[in-house]
Subunit: 353 residues, 2 copies
């Protein structure tokens, strides 16, 4: 069976890879538009705020996190998978009160400032409290996508479509991130994030830092090569503007947290858009109003095949968790194409709104 | 007489333009290396701190400022010359105490916050005091250089030299900014400055703002097209690194001063190097140890002509005032090549250290 995956981001490529492994004839359409993975820091943090009131999403995040070590290993090249773990940090008493809700739920013991600075000597003396979350790791999304593209060499076609009717395949998987809204009518909205990249001597930081600094959330993700990703603003906006205020707020929080970063080079200021949904959980499953039904059979031409017996599956709207959810999304969607149906999918039906 | 100007920055090009007007056969060597003009804001501010204890420099700055309107007009195209004037601003009582020294010397009456906000409604309510300096104007150095290059079309040669002996001309004018040190042995050192450019709706600011914000000096130079130049750090360093701390400090001061800038686009983060000297006044005049003397006459080839009767003139080390001093430098140096000697030059002899 031939399958066309619409979207060459980390979700689309991961699904395509798993489909190829299952023996499908796969084509990936790459619109050439920027994807959220290009700026994403690659924190694999299943325990975050977003899952607080959503047990099904929490389970999906946890399961995918468990699949990451094997997923990274199977890619066969260095994708920056790093299991040093994450320090959750709070700068002020107010920040601590806020963060403590999540840390308590995660059953992580509170560390004193002296213990934190033993783990991360570069931390500011202002940091009031924190926790160590060993299960929250990181990967480099740019390296993951490069590895997936390598795996899928010859199957990726540079093509931007405006409607699914332009696709001629027995199964279409729409993994177009924010672009999914225009192709399917599903409620996927862009959530703007500004992200910086700093560069300096490797080794300043050992762990991912996930902090609240004077009421503002910031994370620092240190790569082995001396890059530190600083993110991210969260703005309900669609524009691509790197703003003075956004860059200022990220730099301010980063330097407050790790004063030594002031001397580091600012190498990138970027904008990405997380594909959000009404409940900010992903859309995973068959497109409701495109369920298989009898085609006319008598029509010819690719345009006439729309709706004629093919299936359309959606895998989009991963919001802040696209990188973390890539392994489980790929497994679940490849299984669905193959006729399986995992009960995990039930809570994420695209037609649930 | 043929003259080669080494350096295609705002100083070298201005000199070359005036030399062409006087009928000289002029060639400009453009090393292709970045010049301070590329990041300079183009404030024409003769009354600044640097001239406090140097009456000769103060007079040079004032005289050049008076020549700018005609210089800009003669270029015949829009070079962003804008005479709306400058607001000197102080954020805190400490900032005011610091700025008041300069303002008192300039005999500028202190304005109340309400008067300042009448002139600039976008100013933060935190601004404590300020002055209006109508004689401190601005020009866009990138437009000035473009206009000069247009005027000198056909005379600019892309060539980087490592020694003056590579130049075959009766008169050599070294206007190589920081590169002058290597070519002449004169004490010109790079003084690093980080400069940002923001972009938004034109009209937010009407005047140049020259402010001290919580002990840090910052200026905002608004262009007619919606660009605002934010500068500048002043660092005794030679590197080209845009740092997290430098960008943070500039954005912080700019947003504290004009909160509405938080929404503006950050379009450029750049580094330049001001060519500083021991007293931070320029080096203008004949190179002492290259005074005319009898050549051997019998040697052939361009290399053999070094020192054989030619004159070497220096125009470099303008530090923070290269744009402001371009008109008078061009007049004085073109005159010197032509056999004139203005007494203004006496205080700026290259051999004075």
């Amino acid at each position: 069976m031939n399958v066309t995956v619409v979207g060459a981001g980390i979700i689309g490529l991961s699904i395509a890879w798993r489909l190829v492994e299952r023996g499908f004839d796969v084509t990936v359409l790459d619109s050439g538009e920027p994807g959220a993975w290009q700026v994403a820091a690659g924190m694999l943090a299943p325990g975050g705020e977003s899952a607080f009131e959503q047990p099904a999403l929490a389970r999906l995040l946890e399961e995918s996190n468990e699949r990451w070590p094997a997923f990274a290993a199977e890619l066969g090249v260095d994708v920056g998978y790093d299991d040093a773990g994450t320090l959750g940090l709070a700068m002020t008493a107010d920040d601590l009160a806020d963060a403590a809700r999540v840390w308590t739920r995660q059953k992580l013991p509170l560390l004193r400032p002296s213990e934190l600075r033993e783990l991360e000597p570069a931390l500011s003396p202002r940091v009031r409290a924190g926790v160590f979350a060993p299960a929250e790791r990181q990967v480099d999304p740019r390296k993951v996508v490069a590895a997936l593209r390598e795996r899928l060499a010859g199957r990726i076609v540079a093509k931007r479509i405006n409607a699914l009717s332009e696709v001629d395949a027995e199964t279409v998987v729409v993994a177009a991130g924010c672009g999914t809204a225009a192709l399917t009518g599903l409620p996927v909205r862009p959530v703007k994030g500004q992200v910086l990249r700093l560069r300096g001597e490797p080794g300043l930081l050992r762990h991912v830092l996930d902090a609240t600094v004077d009421g503002r959330h910031v994370y620092l993700v240190p790569r082995a090569d001396g890059e530190i990703v600083v993110g991210a603003t969260q703005e309900e906006r669609t524009d691509w503007t790197v703003t003075a205020g956004g860059v200022h707020d990220l730099l301010h929080a980063a330097i407050e947290l790790v004063p030594g970063l002031a001397e580091w080079e600012l190498v990138e200021t970027t904008v990405g858009h997380r594909p959000g949904t009404p409940d900010n959980a992903p859309l995973l499953g068959r497109l409701a109003d495109d369920a298989p039904h009898a085609g006319s059979g008598s029509q010819v031409g690719s345009g006439s095949r729309v709706g004629s017996g093919r299936q359309v599956i959606v895998a989009a709207g991963h919001h802040r968790n696209g990188v973390l959810l890539a392994p489980i999304t790929a497994d679940l969607i490849a299984g669905l194409v193959d006729g399986e149906h995992d009960p995990l999918l039930e809570h994420f039906a695209p037609g649930r709104f």
